[in-house]
Amino acid sequence: MEDKNILELERRFQEKIDNDIKIEPNDWMPDDYRQTLIRQISQHAHSEIVGMLPEGNWITRAPNLRRKAVLLAKVQDEAGHGLYLYSAAETLGADREETIDDLHSGKAKYSSIFNYPTLSWADMGAIGWLVDGAAIMNQVPLCRCSYGPYARAMVRVCKEESFHQRQGFEIIAHLAQGTPAQKEMAQDALNRFWWPALMMFGPNDAESKHTVQSMNWKIKRSTNDELRQLFVDVTVPQAEMIGLTIPDKDLKLNKETGHYETGEINWAEFWEVVKGNGPCNKERVDARRKAKEDGLWVREAASAFAEKRKNK
């Protein structure tokens, strides 16, 4: 009886998904669907939050006030993205404190791109252009994700992201048209961020173990390789336009398919960074932990103040 019930619930659930009816927090859902979403949404939230660090590194050293105001607004948006996403994860029953503790203990992952250092101002350009550009490719299809709160968060996020990419492109295009030294800075940033940006889409489809189920549940709407290809196809001409060279000697346009073909991605490097051995993994998690510890007294004071007011 019990089992038959579950089967019937599962059937009705999948029927809704197949008919593009959104799933909302109080609706019945299979436990695996819930767990998959909690994992994906919290990883996404962590990526937004940790993603503030490499750019935060340059706020005080922005070359002028305009650039500084823009970068500050961009990084503030990323904090907002993290908060929308933590809230979305909470609607599934995830505990916010625990979710954040999992990031700090190293149990939870975040996008590996943020474990690369930002060595020059040109990196602010490369990040906005490539990293936010790749993030947009990933996030646009998520606006149609089957889980309502996640899809709605993504709609807000995507609206804000387009300025992120433009401000980055503006920085790098400006440098690329500057003095030879500035152009070299821009090229160097592209050299360092190109491959990690391609890795942001995750392993090849053949290696990606969650893809099939996530596509059936419409948590994922396009595969890693499809999105990566889309990104390469739009980005290569942009680089050419501003006179920069994609650091891939095997890159070529396939005239028949109309798509660019890239050289082999260094997956060994990708997995090393995912495992925690990237150039900045430790620094990033330490910075998050320190922020939480240093802010403790502020949170305690706010709680005490709220308590006092309530008892008045």
Binding site: N26, S87, E97, E160, L296
Partner: protein, 95 residues
């Protein structure tokens, strides 16, 4: 006390005069003042609102979603509540 999490608040925003407040999401804050200030920063960075309501999430009560069919069924059978139910003869206008 430090372990105790701040309560969750649901945030409602009026985007412009003349429209109703609409649910936009939730956030955590120690009290209502902080919830409103945080809602300003999280949900209205691009002038999305002119008025904010916050309400502690545990004060929101919802119907049981597994029984929504039964809950909403009475309205389904009353098609005469819609103007399209009625025949209006040709030649009659302004109705």
């Amino acid at each position: 006390m430090s372990k105790k999490e701040w309560p969750l608040w649901e945030v409602f925003i009026r985007s412009k005069q003349g429209l109703n407040h609409k649910h936009v999401g939730s956030l955590r804050a120690a009290d209502s003042t902080m919830a409103i200030e945080n809602a300003r920063d999280v949900y209205t960075r691009r002038s999305e609102g002119i008025s904010i309501w916050v309400i502690e999430s545990n004060n929101v009560f919802a119907n049981d979603s597994s029984e929504s069919d039964a809950l909403f069924e009475p309205a389904d059978s009353k098609i005469y509540r819609h103007p399209t139910f009625y025949d209006v003869p040709d030649g009659i206008s302004h109705m």
